[in-house]
Amino acid sequence: MSPTLLALEGISRSFGKLKAVNDLSFSVEAGQIYGFIGPNGSGKTTTMRILATLDLPDDGDAFIHGDSILVEPRKVRTRIGFMPDSFHPYRGIDVVEYLDFFARAYGLRGHQRIQTVRSVSSFCGLLEFKERRITDLSKGMGQRLHLAKTLLHDPDLLILDEPAAGLDPRARIEFRELLKELSAHGKGILISSHILSELGEICDGAVVIEKGKKIVAGTIDEMSRKSKDHHRLRVKIIEKKEDAERFFLTQPGVRELTVGAEGIHFDFEGDKTELARLLERAVRSGLPLYEFHQLDADLEEIFMRTTEGRLQ
């Protein structure tokens, strides 16, 4: 079995007294889209720059296919495509010249270079803009161009720092589709954002950080399991809605109850046995329940729950 695509082991980085990244560990597998989520200033960019070998951690190490970013930075660099959060576009050159420049920089030669530039710009939907100056591109097109550039050397891992920031919804959806396709091709993608809904749908896993510290991490499944003592439930009832509301409100562990047309929603704190007992009591008390449904936790919910009260 080949080693994990990306594994962080206790990365820390301080600027003065500020601990920008504090003992951060998580891992990303090939073919995964992994969300890196945290509010502004939580240390996402700092971590990504360290992973891209552009900065040094004070402590800890990270491994790409088992190679340390500290010991073998050159080898690691060939396997990473890094897309920083800001660019200074080169003036006066067009899309093809820009991609050609980076293809040359990555050491592609002759026919291979031309083919790569062509296929990458076609993949990213840039063919029709190929002779447009890069300073004249729209924000969405610019992001696609930068994505195209990070794909030129066929990296195994893409590190994308807030790629969707400032994109309109349409461009955002198109960009998301590109990422899905890339992960289907087996590339691992680490993508950061401070807006959760951007990532919820496409991520296989995520790590949530705040003030440089990991709050929760894992695949969406794992995280849902981890929060197994915390259930969001929907109950549907034929009649006696008020009785049911009163009943559930008096039960231990029930919180945030709302009554709507679709039934009664509430949070329940407790493990499976307690949940079973709750159901038993509800049925015993004569409520005509016809649905007792546990809603899947999505990323947004996990985020809100884990960072509860700590975010402004």
């Binding site: 070998t53 010991v71 930075p73 200074h88 050159i93 420049f101 920089a105 990555y106 031309i114 050397h153």
Partner: protein, 490 residues
């Protein structure tokens, strides 16, 4: 257009057809230059200069009595700022742009080495120089046709400007690369304009003298000795500027110090080699005198930065410590402890030479020992002080520049405070309080042969070195252990 695309996919767009061997940075630089706004401005400027040259010439000098030499002078006074200020400045600016925001990081992530990036910038500058020279060539030709100059002089000036342009461009790129992180890139531009502008101005002011004394100059320079010394010093400057430029682009976990220490050692070894090669035996002693002096002086910045490095080895450097001669490589690997060892070793060599050479009879020989000793002792003292400060600062603030600034501040304090203390007593004589002031003390020792002052400094160095003994020892063992760990791994 699109049908043509399908017909010849390989010849897709002209940019893609450029040969693979070209430096990508140079190619992109040239593409954006010729398509962007800068090039038309450059062209207009050069053309305006040419018109002005001819205009001034027609106004100032009556065409009949005018000579080619005067015409050449006017031409050069327009060409020189373009070659020595404008083009280097442009290269420097583009280096600043290159490293701005995220683009710089992306460029460094690609396979392009810092050396190739710097080379690309310089090549683009050379290309612009070729364009400028080409545009000016009619004027230069006219100056030849007007008589009064010879082809050799014109050729010499052209060759000199090509080499001067190369050096100026490299230095501008180095300054910009080092200062790219500044919030205001205009500062780098100002430094470059000021430095190169002053150089060019003084060259132009001296131009007449240079031409008048051209026979003397060529007589001095066009000898084997003259050419060797000129070439060596030119190369030394060029390589240093190059190292400074590439060091700014080197990744944080790659090795920056080694290149500088090897450079410094090479230059120090090259000087006596040249002395023995080029001068007759009777002048060797004088040659060694100059070596001791220049060696001591050029070592100051090297020792100083060697001793202010981060204390340990980065993981990457540790993984690449040469397995053979680990003890020897201690001298060349980064780290302030190793920097101190390096400075101590070279100081001993230079001081030993000065002692040998002081037996001579020339007045230089007698002056030499106090000066070289003084320079070396004080450089060592402040380097050891930096090393001490550096290794004791908390990890997160122990950046090199903080240490350097702190040490300079210490030097300033030790220079001025004793005068302030003395002022109420009305005496401005040297006394023991001035021991921290290198300038005053060296002058005093030179005058009075008061070597006890140096003994005190030497004692201070020994004390500081002793204070740093754990750092020195751990530096040493770190390198040895890395080398043996590597041996057991492979």
């Amino acid at each position: 257009m699109s049908s043509q695309d399908r017909a010849s996919p390989d010849l897709w767009v002209s940019a893609l057809r450029m040969p693979d061997q070209l430096n990508p940075v140079m190619l992109r630089e040239t593409q954006s230059l010729y398509k962007g706004r800068v090039f038309p401005i450059f062209l207009i400027l050069v053309l305006a200069c040419m018109v002005l040259t001819s205009g001034i010439f027609l106004f100032q000098f009556s065409p009949r009595g005018a000579t080619g030499l005067e015409f050449l002078q006017v031409t050069i006074s327009f060409l020189a700022p373009i070659l020595l200020v404008l083009i280097p400045l442009q290269a420097g600016q583009s280096m600043t742009q290159e490293l701005k925001d995220g683009s710089g990081s992306v460029l460094l992530m690609s396979g392009l080495s810092p050396q190739r990036i710097v080379a690309g910038k310089i090549q683009a500058g050379l290309l612009q120089m070729a364009v400028a020279l080409g545009l000016f060539s009619p004027l230069i030709a006219v100056s030849y046709l007007l008589r009064g100059t010879d082809a050799l002089l014109i050729l010499g000036i052209i060759i000199a400007s090509v080499f001067a342009n190369l050096l100026a461009t490299t230095m501008a790129v180095a300054v910009s690369a080092q200062l790219a992180a500044l919030k205001r890139p205009i500062i780098a531009a100002l430094i470059i304009v000021l430095g190169l502008g002053l150089g060019t101005l003084s060259f132009l002011i001296q131009f007449e003298e240079i031409i008048v004394y051209a026979p003397v100059w060529t007589g001095m320079i066009l000898t084997p000795t003259g050419l060797t010394i000129l070439t060596c010093s030119y190369l030394a400057c060029l390589v240093l500027a190059w190292l400074i430029a590439t060091a700014a682009l080197t990744h944080p976990n790659e090795n920056r110090a080694t290149a500088f220490r090897i450079y410094h050692s090479t230059v120090l070894l090259l000087i006596p080699a040249l002395v023995f090669l080029l001068t007759p035996t009777k002048d060797w002693l004088t040659g060694l005198v100059s070596w001791g002096m220049t060696g001591a002086v050029i070592s100051i910045p090297f020792f100083f930065s060697a001793c202010t490095d981060a204390p340990g080895l980065s993981p990457r450097v540790r993984a690449h410590v040469p397995q053979r001669f680990p003890s020897f490589s201690v001298l060349f690997l980064p780290g302030c402890g190793r920097g101190l060892v390096y400075a101590l070793s070279w100081s001993l060599v230079l001081w030993g030479t000065a002692t040998l050479a002081s037996s001579g009879t020339h007045y230089l020989h007698r002056q030499l020992l106090p000066y070289v000793t003084g320079i070396l002792l004080y450089t060592l003292l402040y380097s050891a002080a930096s090393c001490t400060v550096r290794s004791r600062l908390p990890l997160h603030i122990s950046r090199n520049w903080i240490t350097r600034l702190l040490t300079l501040f210490l030097l300033l304090l030790l220079c001025f405070v004793p005068f302030l203390i003395q002022a109420p007593f009305g005496s401005m004589e040297w006394n023991i309080l001035h021991i921290g002031n290198p300038f005053f003390t060296i002058a005093y020792v030179g005058e009075r042969n008061a070597y006890f002052a140096f003994v005190l400094v030497a004692l201070a160095i020994v004390l500081l070195t002793f204070t740093n003994r754990r750092l020195l020892r751990s530096s040493w063992t770190e390198v040895r252990e890395s080398a043996s760990a590597k041996g057991s791994r492979s």
